[in-house]
């Protein structure tokens, strides 16, 4: 009221219409907090899936190029059952590429795993574990055991969490593998991993490449796929294309391998923004109504203020600053509430599911979401106030004084 008379008048207006100010404030706070909660949760899921994808999928994966698409996916759903030609030469070439961080040859065999009465269809990835661990982030995903133990336990096997649960085996337990060709071998569990993606954790096992070679059988130096980790994962697509054309192999980047998951990420993002936008638009309409009502009921005040020397700009300031204050306080409350909601949600345990394995609702806490939330909160308060305020600033005091 004292130094900044326009703001002082705005304050009196806000305070003397407590109920309306409160409703406007609540609308903004509600919109902002739900936006923050929603985006934190959706981004939490997305980040979790991205991390799971990136750690369980090589940046680029090379497969044999047979020209016959049927043999790539065999009768048993076997991926890459054909061998890559000249694997050793190819490995050396790729290893020398300056974009490449690590390469790992993989021998994949589809088979059935037994443990007691349970039998499951499993993809056995025969790897040189020390090389594979530079491509896939296995070490961080171990629930029990060490992935690197595989190096000196020639009949060892690493099982996905879902797989181990279904087979009902733990560390030190044994499983039996049967190939469709009728070969058989026994392995001892030296570790259990969980990437968090059902289709990996329920169907994947890692063994030494030698074990799979015997089981298939394959010649030494042969591989069904080559896993590549790049220095810059963003270059995956172009690298896949250049390797594919240079060496005549089929090369797939991680995004292509995970296209279906990436589609759900996009869908979630779109949903988040649509819902948040709808919330904020509703809040904005509420504010538009309230500020319009305030201005209509204040026409007499506007005329008085103008007759005692307030300019149109002063009048607009009086009403816009009310919107701004509602926007700022509402957004601040909304940001705090959003943080509280997110915090609470992150403590709620996630119902167990086949496709993903969270122990708690995944929630991502990032200052960016709060800044965006506050920005939108202030914008949805200011924008609806703009038109009525400009209208108010142009009011002809005479039209009211004359009655």
């Amino acid at each position: 009221m004292e130094t900044f008379v326009n703001l002082g008048i705005a304050k009196v207006h806000l305070v003397s219409r407590k109920r309306q100010s409160f409703i406007a404030l609540t609308g903004v706070a509600f919109g902002v907090s739900l936006y923050i909660l929603l985006i934190s949760f959706m981004e939490g899921i997305n980040l979790y899936l991205m991390d799971s994808m990136l750690s369980s999928t090589p940046d680029v994966q090379l497969l044999a190029n047979t020209g016959n698409s049927k043999s790539e996916v065999g009768p048993s759903g076997n991926i890459g059952s054909d061998f890559i030609k000249n694997t050793e030469v190819l490995l050396d070439h790729i290893r020398e590429d300056k974009n490449v961080l690590a390469v790992s040859p993989v021998l994949t065999q589809q088979c059935i795993l037994f443990s007691g009465p349970v039998q499951l269809n499993v993809r056995l990835d025969g790897v040189k574990i020390n090389e594979e661990m530079q491509v896939l982030k296995l070490s961080g995903k171990m629930i029990s055991g060490n992935a690197s133990d595989l190096a000196y336990k020639s009949n060892g096997i690493l099982l996905g969490k879902g797989l181990a649960d279904k087979l009902n085996v733990g560390m030190g337990g044994t499983v039996t593998a049967f190939t469709p060709e009728g070969r058989m071998a026994q392995f001892r569990v030296v570790g259990v991993f969980r990437f968090g993606l059902g289709f990996v954790d329920n169907t994947r096992a890692f063994l030494n490449i030698g074990s799979v070679r015997q089981l298939m059988p394959a010649e030494p130096g042969q591989a069904t796929s080559i896993h590549i980790r790049l220095k810059d994962p963003d270059k995956s697509k172009e690298m896949a294309e250049s390797i594919s054309s240079r060496y005549g192999v089929k090369a797939e980047d991680w995004a292509t391998s995970n296209a279906s998951i990436l589609a759900t990420v996009t869908a979630r993002n779109v949903l988040t923004y649509v819902v948040s936008l709808a919330l904020l638009v509703v809040a904005g309409f509420g504010i538009y109504n309230i500020i319009n009502l305030t201005i209509t009921s204040k026409m007499k005040d506007i005329a008085i203020l103008k007759s005692i020397g307030f300019t149109g700009r002063d009048i607009a300031t009086v009403f816009l600053s009310q919107c701004l204050v509602i926007g700022l306080i509402g957004s601040a409350i909304g940001a705090l509430a959003g943080f509280g909601f997110s915090e609470a949600l992150s403590r709620v345990s996630f119902p167990s599911s086949e496709t993903v394995s969270f122990s708690y609702f995944p929630v991502s806490f990032k200052a960016r979401y709060y800044l965006i939330g506050v920005f939108f909160g202030v914008a949805t308060s200011l924008l609806p106030g703009l038109l009525p305020s400009i209208k108010a600033s142009g009011t002809d005091p005479l039209s009211i004084l004359r009655r």
């Binding site: 130094t3 008379v5 008048i9 005040d301 103008k306 005692i308 020397g309 307030f310 300019t311 700009r313």
Partner: protein
Amino acid sequence: MNKVLIAEHLNKYFHEPVESQVLHDISLSLDRSQFVTVMGKSGSGKSSLMYVLATLDTDYDGNLFICGERMTGLTENQLAQFRNRHIGFIFQYHYLLPEFTALQNVMIPGLKLKHKSSAQVRDDAMALLEQMQMGKFAEYLSSKLSGGQQQRVAIARALINHPDIIMADEPTGNLDSANTAIIFDIFRKLADEGNTIIAITHDMDFVRKADAGFEIRDGSLSSYIEGAKK
């Protein structure tokens, strides 16, 4: 620079609902420290004249000077600032801001002008309220005051920036005779203190308290009545 207000050949027309002329070639001038009244029948054009003189209405022909400055042709913003600094207003229906206290209402034009610190404006406003016998109502919401009290607050507000001219449109039109008498006395006192005042009124008693009086008839400033004081 003895003339506070000079109006030259003012003509004003309304185009709605029918084409009509409300002000006919009105010329007048006010000396500093002069207290004049404008009388006239209802609908004769008193308020219309006042709004033009007050710079609130810019839709007229002719010339208007206040304190030697030409008002005609100034922009809305320039006029608003000029009113804040030089003109004090008193309307028939008090026109206070209802959600503000009496003191705040008086202070607002002073805070807007920013010639004084807010503490100084507060002290001045308080002094004016005391002068209007309204000191003990300073913290009342203006909507909680009676009509006569509100009008006294409005007068205090009109005086806060020491205006060169005070304009009043039927300041007692809404009041009972006791309150009317109080307001008359206040105006007389203000005039004696050297304020320049132009007031519209129906009341012959009021006219007699003034230095001079005009009468407006069908939009023409047709006669001049010597005030009882002169």
